[in-house]
C-alpha cells in the first residue's frame, strides 16, 4: 500500500493511480508492471491454438511451394457507364446528413468513398454538433455494414419463421390502414414528417392509437418543465457562459442528447489559462455514480440518487431565491444541510448570477426539474445561459404511462394491428402485469420494423427489416429545434424500408418513397422556390434559422410544492440506479464490435457491464473486481459481476443497461477469440432490464438487496493495461536517485481561479521532474521541413472516447474480442488512461489522459528494430512500415509509453463482403505478426500535401486534422506544424501548462500535454 504513495507524493502531494490494485500495489499489479508483455500468453501451447498454428504453417508452405510462375489474382476495373458530374474515382466526398438519438438530431457529415460511406463526423456548420462527434456517431458506420443486421422481412408460421417479402408486408399494412384499430408503438422521434403522419393516422384511421416508448428517456425534464412553465420546454444551455455549473445527478457532457453542444461550451471556459484574462469555470457535481461530468467536475459530492431531491431543496433554500408560494413553503419545511459544501455551492451560484446554471438529471423526479428551472430563472440564467425551445409532441404522457395505455388497449381487445417502429419492448420494457411477449401475443396482427431480428421481432408475426440511417431519407429536430435533414448515402443494402415509409403504407394506402414523404412534409418550410431551398437544405444538412429556442424566460407557475415534498424521501438500505451505457446506450448498439470493445470511460471495462460498487461496500461484502454478486429488486434477482469503482456512493449500486442481449438463437460467442458469429451481442454482459421494473423506472432508482453469490467472472478491464511506471525505466538506479529523476506523466494543478498565469506555470513546473541536463547519446535529427506535432489538453479531456472510435474507423483497427482484451491485446491506437488522484478512495479526483504514439524525435523503438520497419522521417514522423515488419516486438518492448499494438492473430481474416465495404481504403489492412501504432493519420497528411502541391500553394495551418482531433467534442487535441510559429499547435505547445510526458528520458516526444487545472480551492477557504 505504501510504495505508490511515497513514489508520487514527492512531486505533487497527491497519489495518481489507475485502479485499486495499483493504489494498494498488489502483487497482481506488480506482476503486470514487471512483466514487459503481460500479453505473452502461452498461445502455442494450448491445444486449439497449436492446431491453428499448424494450419497457418500449412498455408505458408503451400504458398511457398506454388510461388514460381504465378501471378496474383486478376482484378477488374469497373468504371461507371456515365460518371456523375464532379465525381472522381478514389476521391472521397462528404454529404451532410442527420443522426438521431433520444429524439434529438445531430448534424453529421458522412464521408463516402466511391459510393461507400466510411466515416460519420460532425457537421461543422450545424449549430449543435459543430464538427465534433460522439463515439456512437462514429461507430454508426460499422452498424450499417453489420452482417448481423436483418436482411429480409420474416413472418412466423406454425413451423417457425420463414422469409416473407415486402409486397406481402405492404399489402398487410394497407389492409390494416383500411380496416382500422391500428396501434403504433414507436421510438420517439422529432421528425416533422413522422409527427405529421402520426396526426394523420389518429385522424384518418379509425380507432387507432399512437404510443411512444424509449427505455432511456427525458420524461422528467419534460414533465417538470410542464409543471413550472405550464407547458413542456426544452432548456437549451450555453455552457460557455456558465461560470458556475451545478449538476444534480446530471451528466450534460456525456449522457445527454446535447452532449456535443454542452462539451464545446464547457471547454470554452476551461482552456483560457494562457489568455490575458483567464477564466476557469467551476463545476459542482452531486451524483451517486461516477459519471463523465462527475469526473470532469471540480468538486464532486457522492450521494444517493434518492437523496438528491433533498439536496436540491436545501440548495434552493441556501440560495434564498424567490419561488412560487407553495413551493417556497415546501422548501422552507426542509432542514438546512449539515454539509458546508451545499452552502458554498449556493454562495458560488449567488456570486455568479446571470452566469450560472443548475442542471438535474434524468433520474430525478419532475418536481426537482421544476425546482431547478425556477432557480435558474431566479438566478438570471434565462437569456444568458439558457434559452427555451419547444418540445416535439410535448403533450404525450410519460413513456411508462403510454406503455400502460397500450397494454390496457391490448387487454381490452381494442388493437387489431400492432405496428412497432424501431422499438424492442420485449427486451427493454418493464412487464406491466404481463410480459410484453405475452401482450404482443394477444394482438391478432403484430408487425415489427427494426434493424435486427431481435427479441421483439421473434414474438411478432411479421418482422420487417428497417433501413439504417445512412440508407434513408428523413428529418429530425436538433436540441435547439433546428430542422436537420437526412439523405441516404447508399441504396439500402438489404432493400429495407424506413419508418416513415412503413407508416405511409398505412395512412396513404400506398408505400411512398422516403424522398417524396420528406419533401411533402417539409414543403411549407421552403421559400417560394422549393427546389432551390431543397438543394440548399441538402447541401447544408439543415434548414437555417429554424431553431425555435427563445431567450425570453417563461412565466413561472406554482402548484408543484406538494410533489416536491413527496419526492423528498428517506429510503434506507442500498439503492440501485440504471444508467444508459456509455457505448451501447439502451442496448441498440449491442451488435457493434467497435462499441463493445470500447472501454467504458469510467470503469474501463469492455465487452461487459458490471455492478459498480464502492470500495467500502466491497469490503463489507468481501468482494473484489469480477466476483459475482446477487442483486435483488422486488423479488427479482440477478447475479452480476461486481466492479469496485472508487468514487461510487457507498449505498448506491450502479448498473449499465443494454447488455445480455439474445438476438439470435445461435450459441453465445462470449469467450470466442474473435467473434466469428455475426450476432456478437449475444451473451455479452448482464441483462439489467430484468431488475428495472415500472416502479424503478418512475422513481429513477430502486431499493436493492445485495449479497455475495460466490463464483467469479472475467471482466476485460483495460484500466491497468500498459502501465506507465517510471520505475520501469530506471533499471538498477538506487531508489533515491529514481525518486529524484522519475517525472510525472499526468500533471494536475489545484488552483483557485481567477488564476494568475504565472502561478499556473509555477505549479505545472513544480509538478515536473527534476533531472540533470539531458544529453543525447547520438546525433540528433535536424528538421528543415514540416514538424508535425500534437497537443493534448488534459484540462479539456472528459474521457468520452469519441477519439478512440474515430481512430478505429479511420485506421481500420481490428476488433479482437473479449478474451484478447483480457490478455491486454486490444488494438486501439489511441487509448485513454483514466487516473484517480488523491488518497480518498471514496471520492478521488479523476484525470483522463488520451495517449497515442508520441512521435519521439529520439525514438527508442527505432533503435531496436532489426529490419528498419520503424524509421524516422524528415518531418519527425515515426513511420511504421507494415510490409517490412517481422514481428520481433522489440519496438514495443522499448516504447516507454506502451502505445504499440501487435497483431497476435490475423484479426482481419475473411471479413464479410459488407464489412469490407466499410474499410478506409487509404489505410493498409494489417495482417498477423505485424506491429502497428498511431501514425498521426499520415494518410491525411499525405493527401493534404498532394492537394496543396496540386493547387500550387503552401500548406496552411488546419489543412491536416487527424481523426481524433476532428472528432473531439471539446477540441482537446490540436495538431499541426511546429515549423509554423503561428500554428495552433505551436501556440498550445508554448502554453504555461504544456509539458512533455516522461521528459527526463530525453526521447523528445512531439506530443505535448497540457496540465489539468482543478478549480477546487474554494473548499479550503470555506
Amino acid at each position: 500500500m505504501s510504495s505508490i504513495k511515497e513514489q508520487h507524493q514527492n512531486h505533487q502531494g497527491k497519489a495518481l493511480w489507475r485502479s485499486l490494485d495499483e493504489y494498494a500495489d498488489t502483487p497482481e499489479f506488480r506482476a503486470l508492471v514487471e512483466k514487459e508483455f503481460p500479453n505473452h500468453a502461452p498461445e502455442l501451447f494450448n491445444s486449439t491454438s497449436r492446431r491453428h498454428f499448424l494450419k497457418v504453417m500449412g498455408a505458408s508452405m503451400a504458398l511457398a511451394g506454388g510461388l514460381a510462375g504465378c501471378h496474383w489474382p486478376t482484378q477488374k476495373i469497373l468504371p461507371h457507364t456515365s460518371r456523375p458530374a464532379g465525381q472522381a474515382p478514389g476521391v472521397p466526398e462528404t454529404y451532410a446528413s442527420c443522426w438521431e438519438q433520444q429524439e434529438v438530431a445531430e448534424g453529421v457529415l458522412v464521408t463516402s468513398y466511391d459510393g461507400r460511406p466510411i466515416r460519420v463526423d460532425g457537421n461543422g456548420d450545424h449549430p449543435d454538433s459543430r464538427g465534433s462527434s460522439t463515439s456512437q456517431m462514429q461507430a454508426s458506420v460499422l452498424g450499417m455494414y453489420d452482417p448481423g443486421r436483418s436482411t429480409e422481412p420474416t413472418h412466423s408460421k406454425s413451423d417457425g419463421r420463414v422469409a416473407g417479402d415486402w409486397d406481402q408486408a405492404i399489402e398487410l399494412l394497407r389492409t390494416a390502414g383500411r380496416s382500422g384499430k391500428v396501434s403504433v408503438l414507436a421510438a420517439p422521434s422529432s421528425s416533422i414528417a413522422l409527427q405529421a403522419m402520426r396526426k394523420r393516422l389518429l385522424r384518418e384511421v379509425p380507432e387507432s392509437s399512437w404510443h411512444e416508448w424509449a427505455p432511456v428517456n427525458r420524461d422528467s425534464e419534460r414533465l417538470g418543465t410542464a409543471q413550472v412553465f405550464g407547458r413542456p420546454m426544452r432548456p437549451v444551455a450555453d455552457l460557455s457562459s456558465a461560470r458556475v455549473l451545478v449538476c444534480l445527478d446530471a451528466d450534460p457532457l456525456m449522457n445527454h442528447p446535447a452532449s456535443l453542444r454542452h462539451s464545446s461550451g464547457w471547454a470554452a471556459l476551461r482552456n483560457s489559462a494562457d489568455d490575458d484574462e483567464p477564466i476557469l469555470s467551476r463545476v459542482w457535481a452531486v451524483e451517486s455514480t461516477l459519471s463523465v461530468t462527475g469526473g470532469a467536475a471540480d468538486v464532486r459530492i457522492p450521494t444517493r440518487t434518492s437523496d438528491i431531491p433533498k439536496i436540491a431543496v436545501q440548495l434552493a433554500a441556501a440560495t434564498g431565491v424567490s419561488l412560487p408560494a407553495d413551493v417556497a413553503s415546501s422548501v422552507g419545511s426542509v432542514a438546512a444541510s449539515s454539509d458546508g459544501r451545499i452552502q458554498q455551492m449556493a454562495d458560488d451560484l449567488l456570486a455568479h448570477q446571470g452566469a450560472c446554471l443548475v442542471m438535474a438529471g434524468d433520474r430525478q423526479p419532475p418536481a426537482v426539474h421544476a425546482l431547478v428551472h425556477a432557480m435558474n430563472i431566479a438566478l438570471g440564467a434565462a437569456g444568458k445561459v439558457l434559452r427555451y425551445a419547444e418540445v416535439t409532441h410535448g403533450e404525450r404522457p410519460a413513456h411508462i404511462d403510454d406503455l400502460q395505455l397500450l397494454a390496457d388497449r391490448i387487454r381490452g381487445g381494442q388493437v387489431e394491428t400492432l405496428l412497432m417502429l424501431g422499438v424492442n419492448p420485449v427486451y427493454d420494457a418493464p412487464s406491466l402485469g404481463q410480459s410484453w411477449s405475452e401482450l404482443i401475443g394477444q394482438v391478432p396482427h403484430s408487425m415489427h420494423l427494426g434493424l435486427y431480428e431481435d427479441e421483439t421481432a421473434k414474438v411478432c408475426q411479421w418482422h420487417l427489416n428497417q433501413t439504417h440511417f445512412l440508407e434513408e431519407w428523413g428529418d429530425a429536430r436538433s436540441w435547439d429545434g433546428t430542422v436537420t435533414l437526412r439523405q441516404p448515402l447508399i441504396a439500402p443494402l438489404y432493400s429495407g424500408r424506413s419508418a416513415i415509409e412503413v407508416v405511409s403504407a398505412v395512412v396513404d394506402d400506398e408505400m411512398k418513397s422516403g424522398h417524396d414523404i420528406v419533401r411533402e412534409y417539409l414543403h411549407p418550410m421552403a421559400s417560394s422556390d422549393f427546389e432551390g431551398s431543397w438543394k440548399q437544405w441538402l447541401h447544408d444538412g439543415f434548414i437555417a434559422e429554424t431553431s425555435n429556442a427563445v431567450d425570453v424566460a417563461p412565466d413561472i407557475h406554482g402548484g408543484w410544492g406538494a410533489a416536491l415534498e413527496a419526492s423528498i424521501q428517506s429510503v434506507g438500505g442500498k439503492e440501485i440506479v440504471f444508467l444508459p451505457d456509455h457505448s451501447l446506450f439502451d442496448g441498440r448498439y449491442a451488435n457493434n464490435g467497435w462499441l463493445q470493445e470500447l472501454p467504458d470511460p469510467v470503469t474501463k471495462v469492455s465487452w461487459d457491464n458490471c455492478a459498480m460498487i464502492s470500495p467500502r461496500l466491497a469490503s463489507e461484502l468481501g468482494v473484489k473486481n469480477g466476483d459475482m454478486v446477487d442483486l435483488t429488486v422486488a423479488g427479482v434477482s440477478l447475479a452480476m459481476a461486481a466492479f469496485v469503482l472508487p468514487g461510487q456512493n457507498q449505498d448506491t449500486i450502479g448498473v449499465a443497461l443494454g447488455y445480455g442481449r439474445l438476438i439470435s438463437d445461435r450459441a453465445a460467442g462470449r469467450l470466442s477469440r474473435k467473434p466469428s458469429l455475426y450476432q456478437i451481442a449475444d451473451g455479452v454482459g448482464f441483462d439489467t432490464y430484468r431488475l428495472r421494473n415500472a416502479a424503478a423506472l418512475r422513481a429513477g432508482f430502486a431499493s436493492v438487496s445485495v449479497a455475495r453469490s460466490g463464483g467469479t467472472y472475467e471482466l476485460a478491464t483495460t484500466q491497468d493495461h500498459n502501465p506507465i511506471r517510471p520505475d520501469e525505466f530506471m533499471g538498477d538506479l538506487e531508489f533515491n536517485e529514481e525518486q529524484r529523476r522519475a517525472g510525472e506523466y499526468v500533471r494536475v494543478a489545484d488552483c483557485n481561479f481567477t488564476p494568475d498565469a504565472g502561478d499556473v506555470e509555477k505549479q505545472v513546473t513544480a509538478a515536473g521532474p527534476h533531472h540533470p541536463d539531458l544529453k543525447s547519446p547520438w546525433k540528433e535529427h535536424e528538421y528543415t521541413s514540416h514538424r508535425w506535432a500534437m497537443s493534448i489538453d488534459l484540462n479539456l479531456c472528459t474521457g468520452c472516447s469519441a477519439c478512440v472510435v474515430a481512430c478505429q474507423a479511420e485506421n481500420n483497427i481490428a476488433v479482437v474480442g473479449k478474451d484478447e482484451v483480457a490478455y491486454g491485446r486490444e488494438m486501439h491506437w489511441i487509448r485513454i488512461d483514466r487516473y484517480f488522484r488523491g488518497e480518498d478512495v471514496d471520492n478521488p479526483e479523476v484525470v483522463h489522459q488520451p495517449l497515442t504514439c508520441n512521435m519521439c524525435e529520439n525514438a527508442p523503438c527505432e533503435q531496436v528494430c532489426p529490419v528498419a520497419a520503424t524509421v524516422h522521417n524528415e518531418e519527425g514522423l515515426n513511420d511504421m512500415v507494415y510490409n517490412r515488419c517481422i514481428g520481433t516486438r522489440y519496438c514495443s518492448n522499448n516504447c516507454p509509453y506502451k502505445v504499440r499494438r501487435f497483431n497476435y492473430f490475423n484479426n482481419t481474416k475473411n471479413p464479410s463482403a459488407t464489412e469490407q465495404m466499410g474499410y478506409n481504403p487509404e489505410v493498409t489492412i494489417r495482417a498477423r505478426g505485424v506491429m502497428e501504432k498511431c501514425t498521426y493519420c499520415v494518410q491525411r497528411i499525405n493527401s493534404s500535401k498532394i492537394k496543396a502541391k496540386n493547387e500550387d500553394r503552401e500548406m496552411v495551418d488546419g489543412d491536416v486534422l487527424p481523426a481524433c482531433a476532428q472528432s473531439c467534442p471539446t477540441h482537446a487535441i490540436t495538431f499541426g506544424d511546429l515549423a509554423d510559429p503561428d500554428s495552433q499547435v505551436s501556440r498550445t505547445q508554448k502554453s504555461h501548462r504544456a509539458y512533455k510526458m516522461l521528459a527526463e528520458l530525453n526521447v523528445k516526444p512531439r506530443t505535448s500535454f497540457l496540465a489539468k487545472l482543478r478549480n477546487n480551492s474554494i473548499l479550503d477557504e470555506g
Binding site: K76, R83, P89, V91, E874, N883, V938, I946
Partner: protein, 295 residues
C-alpha cells in the same frame, strides 16, 4: 536511427530484393550467398559431405576387417556426382527464387486480353488523342480513372456504330452495367501511388507505362517493384520534363540522358527539390520516406 542510417537500410533491402541493379552485383550476391540463400546452400552441402565421409570411413573399416563392402566401388564416384548435383541444385533453387520470382519476370510483360480490343496504338498513336481525353482525373486525383462507357460512346455513337468489337461497349451503355476491364498495372495494396502528384510535377506517363501509344493491347513494361520506384525517387533528374509535355509520349527522344538530366535539374529547382546552388533539399529526401508510399 538517423536519416543517414535509414537511407542505408533502404538501399540494402532495395538492392537485394529487386533487379534493375547491375547484373554483376546479382551474380556476386548469388555466389557469396545472401543470408537466406546461404541457408539453402549449406545444409545440402553438409549432408552430402557428411555422407561421403561416413561412407569412406565405413569402406576403410570393412577393408581392415577383410570383409566384402556392402556397396560396390563405383558408388564412390556416384557420391561425388551426387555432391556436385546437390550443389548445383542448391544454386538452381537460389537462381529460381532470385530471378523467377522477381517482379521483372512475373510482372513486366503482363498483357491480359481485354473484353474490348481497344487499341491505344490506333487512338493515341495514329489519331492523336491526348491521354487526358479519357483519363480525365489524372491531374487531380490519385487514380487516372478508366473512362466511363459514355466517353467511348461520345465518338462511337457515330463512328463504327455496328462494329461487333464494340458490342460490349454498346451493351454496357444500354444496360448501365460496366465494361469489365482487366487491371494491368496492379500495385500491392500497401502501396499508395498518386497519379496527380506525379503528372503535375512533370513525370510523364511514359516513365511507368511505356509507349502506350504504340500498344495494340496494353501491357505492363516496368516491373513496378519497390527498387524500380526508388531508382527514380532517388535520381529523378533524367525523368523530369516540362509539365505541358507530360502526355507527349515521344517527347525528348532525340535528347541524350545527360541533356535530359541537365534540364531536369533546372525543372527540379522550380519544384523546390534542388536549391539555387544545385544541392538537393529536404523535399528530395522526403521522396524516399517510407510513409510517402506506405501508410
Amino acid at each position: 536511427m538517423g536519416p543517414a542510417s535509414s537511407q542505408r537500410s533502404v538501399s540494402a533491402w532495395g538492392g537485394k530484393r529487386t533487379e534493375g541493379r547491375d547484373q554483376q552485383v546479382r551474380y556476386f550476391l548469388c555466389a557469396t550467398g545472401g543470408f537466406s540463400k546461404h541457408f539453402i546452400l549449406s545444409p545440402s552441402m553438409i549432408v552430402v559431405l557428411e555422407f561421403a565421409q561416413l561412407h569412406s570411413w565405413a569402406r576403410r573399416n570393412f577393408e581392415q576387417m577383410n570383409r566384402t563392402p556392402i556397396f560396390p566401388p563405383w558408388v564412390d564416384q556416384l557420391i561425388k556426382l551426387l555432391g556436385a548435383g546437390a550443389a548445383v541444385s542448391g544454386l538452381y533453387v537460389v537462381m529460381m527464387i532470385n530471378f523467377g520470382a522477381s517482379p521483372k519476370t512475373l510482372n513486366a510483360g503482363y498483357m491480359p486480353e481485354q473484353p474490348v480490343p481497344y487499341s491505344h496504338a490506333l487512338h493515341v498513336g495514329e489519331l492523336g488523342l491526348d491521354c487526358r481525353y479519357c483519363h480525365t482525373t489524372v491531374e487531380s486525383a490519385g487514380f487516372a480513372a478508366v473512362p466511363p462507357t459514355e466517353t467511348c460512346m461520345n465518338c462511337h455513337g457515330k463512328i463504327a456504330p455496328t462494329s461487333m468489337k464494340l458490342k460490349p461497349v454498346r451493351d454496357s451503355f444500354s444496360t448501365g452495367m460496366p465494361v469489365p476491364w482487366i487491371k494491368v498495372h496492379d500495385l500491392p495494396d500497401y502501396v499508395y501511388f498518386n497519379h496527380s502528384a506525379h503528372v503535375t510535377r512533370g513525370v510523364s506517363c511514359v516513365e511507368c507505362h511505356g509507349r502506350v501509344d504504340q500498344m495494340e493491347e496494353v501491357q505492363q513494361v516496368a516491373p513496378l517493384s519497390m527498387g524500380w520506384c526508388l531508382e527514380c525517387h532517388r535520381n529523378p533528374e533524367s525523368r523530369m520534363r516540362p509539365v505541358d509535355k507530360v502526355t507527349d509520349l515521344d517527347w525528348g527522344l532525340e535528347r541524350t540522358p545527360a541533356e535530359k538530366a541537365a534540364q531536369g535539374r533546372e525543372l527540379m529547382k522550380d519544384l523546390g527539390l534542388y536549391d539555387e546552388s544545385g544541392q538537393p533539399t529536404v523535399r528530395m529526401t522526403l521522396m524516399t520516406n517510407c510513409s510517402t508510399c506506405h501508410r
